[in-house]
Symmetry: C2
Subunit: 407 residues, 2 copies
């Protein structure tokens, strides 16, 4: 078999993520390894914990990485919190709410969901009523669901959960770094993310933060592995249903005891550290502002091309917009436009799931690609492809509208 070294075609990734990785993050991954308990390694782990405390806006000591994609972070949170039979309430406003429900179900939870139509978010009263009815142990909620582009406000939900002694887990995969996020002041108990959206990195590492209250619950189920257990390591509570995603073990590994668990994915650690380092250097608030600016430019740009936009714009995530596929394009036209964007211009825009499948494209402006040139290039290319596909679009309407935002 003759296979050459990897040589990806140049792509401008303007879908809902993964997006083009910041070249500085790519370079960080090319740094050589050190041993698993090398002083440089443990220092790097500690620095990464400190950096993600800034990103999550938290003082939580237990802020670290799960070695897997964003989904591994979600499952680590839920499998470590939820015991079989526990009630979990999931407000579902898009595909990733269904995912939280699915994962909670696999953990043996009695799952209750409430739903709003795609394109909307929940009002606090709706969540309050469901909490009072279900009396869940855990409420699991997505912040930004790219399937609908909606961003769920969390401050009131956090207060409600605390008031009712409910643990609040938040999946911030698609929103963190590009939308306001306050783990502590919103009183979140666990939040998880991934690198491949607003953090500007590749998929494969899941930052996580746990409140002291969550730490207590998780450590109430702490079982140190037979091979490395000491006399003082008394087992307690019901064993967590996963070894790999057992947050009690991960805390022992990232903590001062450095109890051996998995072999840390060092190159992904370097990537995660660099993502957070760049964000901290820019300033988290400035990064959110940048996402808001370029997201607005993209929104007004597609509207300037005469295209409709899906969903409640008052609650749109900064970093993605759902653009209605013009009816003139016909049933297969949406995919044909995406194909030409990719083949002719090297630009990827996203398809969609479920009720929006075939109805909208999802266009992202996030991480390294939350930039003026990326926005304008995408709009210019989209104008060309739409026109030659038979859609009447105003010449320069997209780019001009975006430029007006920048001016």
């Amino acid at each position: 078999m003759s296979i050459d070294e990897i040589a990806p075609p140049p792509r401008l990734l303007m879908g809902p993520g993964p997006i083009s990785v910041d070249p500085r993050v790519l370079r960080a991954m090319a740094a050589p390894l050190v041993g698993q308990f090398d002083p440089f390694m443990t220092t790097t782990m500690n620095e990464t914990m400190a950096l993600y405390r800034e990103v999550f806006a938290t003082g939580n000591e237990q802020t670290f990485l799960v070695d897997g994609t964003a989904r591994a972070g979600i499952e680590a949170a839920l499998v470590s919190l939820v015991e079989p039979g526990d009630r979990v309430l999931v407000p579902v406003f898009g595909r990733f709410g269904h995912l939280l429900a699915e994962i909670a179900g696999r953990c043996g939870a009695e799952v209750h969901t409430i739903e709003v139509p795609w394109g909307r978010v929940f009002a606090p009263e709706q969540v309050a009523a469901a909490i009072e009815e279900v009396r869940p142990k855990v409420l699991a909620c997505v912040q930004g669901d790219t399937s609908t582009t909606m961003c769920q406000p969390l401050a009131e939900i956090g207060a409600l959960c605390r008031e009712h002694d409910v643990l609040l887990y938040c999946d911030a995969t698609a929103s963190l770094g590009g939308n306001e996020f306050r783990a502590d002041s919103w009183r979140l108990d666990i939040a998880t993310a991934g690198l491949q959206k607003c953090l500007g990195g590749p998929s494969g590492s899941a930052p996580i933060t746990l409140s002291p209250r969550a730490v207590e619950i998780v450590n109430g189920r702490r079982h140190v592995e037979a091979g490395i257990r000491e006399a003082s390591d008394e087992a307690r509570g019901r064993v967590i249903g996963s070894n790999y995603l057992d947050l009690a073990m991960l805390m022992d590994y990232w903590g001062p005891r450095r109890l051996n668990h998995h072999t840390e994915a060092t190159s992904m650690l370097y990537a995660a550290r660099e993502c957070a380092r760049l964000l901290a250097a820019e300033g988290i608030d400035a990064a959110v502002e940048r996402h808001a600016l370029h997201g607005r430019a993209m929104l007004e740009g597609v509207q300037g091309l005469g295209l409709g936009v899906f969903g409640d714009l008052a609650h749109k995530m900064n970093n993605v917009v759902a653009v209605e596929i013009p009816e003139a394009l016909g049933a297969a036209g949406g995919d044909a436009v995406r194909g030409r964007m990719l083949d002719d211009f090297g630009i990827e825009i996203g398809t969609s799931f479920g009720p929006l499948h075939g109805k909208v494209w999802r266009i992202g402006t996030m991480g390294f690609n939350a930039r003026k040139d990326a926005v304008l290039t995408t709009l210019a290319a989209l104008e060309q492809v739409l026109r030659s596909s038979g859609v009447a679009v105003p010449a320069g309407g997209g780019v001009e509208a975006a430029l007006a935002v920048y001016r």
Copy 2:
């Protein structure tokens, strides 16, 4: 907080893994991303599947990557095969056998173990007797356990398992690529590995292969996620206890349907592909020979320094040796020597676990570091550190013995 870009100190990693990554693999990780369903991405995934079929010596269609460290691969295999209450038999000959038992237990298995003293492997009759007594659904066995440096022969165990209709899972994390491995002719049902040992990559991706028999068992528990399920996707069997590590879903994602699951960790995919590509270009048998050669040179080298070696040398893994810490060094002397190797020479050698803790160093020769200069440099440095620590060592005894192997 002021944190600089990552700048690891130069290290020659000669422990039991992780080891220094091949620079070509580091470069592959710095390649830019493409979208998750870009034609280049799916081609790259298919190439990676083909390359790992060579590495595992298998024709198994279902040969792909689990997005996590080696331990994620182990758990994916066990959680997908084992239903709560199933009997699992684990022959334990070191720490990682205990890990398999621990993970199987978390999956709800009724776990049975048999043990041999550390430093030995099992004879087929011992395994046969246990299979007849326990009648397990799954036999889970490590191939090479770095904690003892032993390499368990698997051909007879594979035949026994087939004869008794037992599913055979093998953890080849530490052995694959550096020791003979034949998934098909040994009749393994699932085998998993990691990149950070003989494959010469960083931790964070777990290659896996499933026999058609294993595929049938796993797909007997296939449940497509609510958000993307179609009418024909009937749920069947007992749901797998993890979403992230559900091999039925992962096969749908890597297969022609490309059903959305996690967002593939693209940079780690590039790394895994490059590890296997380099190995395939060298020839798997040649790579195993290389590990045998440099492993023998390291073994004879430490013996040439007058040091004892732990375990049954007839069954030693090619890629690691357990070197007895001279009694003259006293209780803390072993760690002091390791510290000076690291601080003065930038060379890491390994400590050990359990009954061997404080008794042996583990020195690896694997992946990119299965090289003459790495072996000789390590032996030269070890001689210097031992002498200045008060151990009588013959001048040049290590390097000369190793050179004799190379001549």
